[in-house]
Symmetry: C2
Subunit: 398 residues, 2 copies
């Protein structure tokens, strides 16, 4: 089983996306709201950046009790690098949501994305929340997803269904780019809801199982935003009995499938990206070596411009591997691009380069680096570095 | 005293640069030669990349005895990722130089830069060496420097003079880009010669003193080439007496000044660079924190595209600092761009942004980040990320 792209309904959850006037463009959707019928078990993971958005501090505080009932996400303003005023604004925002929905503000996670260093207008936010509360629909996930977009060119949704404890269960997710991992400070945000009955501890375990190989295995420039957040909520409307160990395993896999589908969409819609490239490093001495190596390749501007130019530039890939800090021996490594072996045990295969170049013209290909040293491996998804990336990021203004 | 840009003569050294046919473009200078009148004390530092050019293995082996008499540098072919055949080619090249000059091959350092994975033609190399040997001149340093260029747009030379042990002494250096630190695998190479009398140990100490704050404090994309090499040779023609401790200190400073001038030129001529930016991180908890922070800012594509767009994007700089792994507290940091304070103890200074933007239109400015946490500092030179960078690197073919 794997996840499908696109929207899905999840019993017990309603969604809305409205224009609150936080973005400067008049009428642009900029406030998303997800509401569960009841206080629901929830878990989250957050940016590891030392500079965190005020919204992360407040969300962390609220989720500590293991339950949430509503998540708001505004785009257009990150409420990051805003000090105590930012914390107060996030708390006042939760209060507004609590009033609009008739729930405790402590059941609200107030997320933000957009330009940093600025505060949004609380009055506009309150009016937006009221409008969103009135617009809530079971089928509203696409509106929600559109409202949280910044430089994304399209909304990103995925879902999976499975049988659990005798009942049919749906897991649905919505995410926003990452034009890049740290896109204009625009943040990677993902929200996943399910009608399964689960405990907060079970949800934490599901995220712990899912995030390393999905949201944490994508990159475009190696930075991380101050606002990155993934939230998972379980409403319980499916009425499944408490999960067995086997159920938990299947549930975790399904959550991971949804995360993986969203993560792929994030990279595919990277700022200026024209190609989705999977960097697979195998037979490294250790997992940390394999990851370091894969990340250095995935983040190297020289490698990424070569991807853009469809250039099977073995030198740049080998150089990135060698400079990663991982143990690498040139004479032992074998490299394939799009399944074409371009270096074999340390020797460049010049005759193979035209075939590799042809593969690189496709929208998606795999770079497979076999270090020939051990048994550990790692995989990272990345995209190319194009003129359009420079254009988007040079012309964006604070 | 600080170094001056441009060529200089150094008694006891002759230089040449010729077209050997290693580059595909007919008539392009591609073989440089430096020869000392006598076997001379020498020291070197090399790339830390785990994948090293064959030329580095051979140069390391030859310099172990503490003396060199000749350095050859070919452009157009890096002789890297070439296995045992590459080592043999580098040794055969030393042999050719030895024959042409009537010296031991073990007194020759055979450097290379250019495309990796390929071997150059030894016959062409030999003919080139013979032509270079015939062309050697005391005033030939500019020809030499032009012959070692790859994507450099201009030759980079610097020199300094000082009094040492009662004699006038000259230190002259030549370097090649780095379009970027890892330019098309094109390598950072620098050669510094002096007529001072010095020991190999003294020269090693001078490089150890000079390189960390100069060649190792510049970056454009955080990668490092497989061929990076800095060589320092002292011919002794100045006839100064053995250096006192004070002399050594002044000599080391002068070497560092020459290295610093060359390093600056390397960044200024970065691939597609339109701006030279100094990233200064102050009041960090430790030097390693300060360096990590400065490097993350200096290498962030989001920060570098903002430099290109003259955008005083505080958010991206703060995000990079926070994601560096260094200890950072948002509410303690103060940031100035071009001397304009754009964030003060964690608060964005919106009114100051237009003035900062104006400063960013200049060809050179300083980003000064005060972490407010300790007493350590670090400085890194970087450049912006432009369309031209993508163009150069996407269109370069293996």
């Amino acid at each position: 089983m794997s996840a499908s792209l696109g929207p899905a309904r999840v019993r017990g959850f309603r969604f809305a996306g409205v224009a609150a006037g936080i973005k400067t463009k008049v009428g642009a959707l900029d406030l998303g709201l997800v509401v569960a019928d009841n206080p629901s078990p929830a878990a989250a993971v957050f940016s590891a950046n030392k500079v965190k958005s005020a919204t992360i501090y407040v969300t962390k505080d609220h989720i500590r009790a293991g339950k949430l009932q509503a998540v708001t996400v505004n785009s257009g303003c990150a409420n990051s690098f805003t000090g105590r005023a930012g914390i107060k604004l996030a708390e006042d925002s939760c209060h507004a949501v609590g009033v609009a929905l008739g729930i405790s503000p402590r059941l609200v996670a107030p997320n933000s994305t957009g330009v940093i260093g600025h505060l949004y207008d609380l009055g506009k936010y309150e009016m937006g929340v009221n409008a969103a509360a009135a617009a809530l629909r079971e089928t509203g996930i696409e509106d929600f997803t559109r409202a949280i977009m910044t430089t994304d060119t399209r909304p990103k949704m995925a879902h999976a269904k499975l049988r659990l404890g005798g009942r049919s269960v749906t897991i649905a997710g919505a995410a926003k780019g990452v034009g890049m991992i740290a896109p204009n400070m625009a943040t990677m945000l993902a929200y996943i809801v399910t009608d399964a009955a689960a405990t907060a501890a079970g949800l934490r375990a599901a995220l712990k199982f899912s995030v390393p190989s999905t949201f944490n295995a994508i990159t475009v420039d190696g930075d991380m935003s101050t606002n990155d957040t993934v939230i998972l909520m379980a409403g319980g409307a499916a009425g499944n009995r408490a999960m067995s160990a086997a159920d938990r395993e299947r549930f975790n896999r399904a959550v991971r499938d949804v995360c993986a589908a969203l993560a792929r969409e994030l990279v595919r819609d990277g700022e200026g990206a024209t190609k989705l490239v999977t960097i697979r490093v195998r037979r490294a001495r250790s997992v940390s070596d394999a990851e370091r190596c894969a990340r250095q390749i995935a983040n190297s501007p020289l490698v990424k411009t070569a991807f853009f130019g469809c250039d099977p530039n073995v030198g740049r890939i080998v150089m990135a591997a060698g400079s990663s800090g991982a143990h690498v021996e040139a004479e032992k490594l074998t490299l394939a691009i799009g399944g074409v072996r371009v270096a074999s045990r340390g020797a460049l295969q010049i005759a193979a380069l035209p075939a590799a170049q042809k593969k690189m013209r496709e929208a998606e290909f795999v770079v497979d680096l076999d270090l020939g040293l051990g048994a550990a491996s790692a995989t990272i998804l990345t995209c190319d570095l194009s003129y359009e990336y420079v254009k988007i990021n040079a012309e964006y203004t604070t």
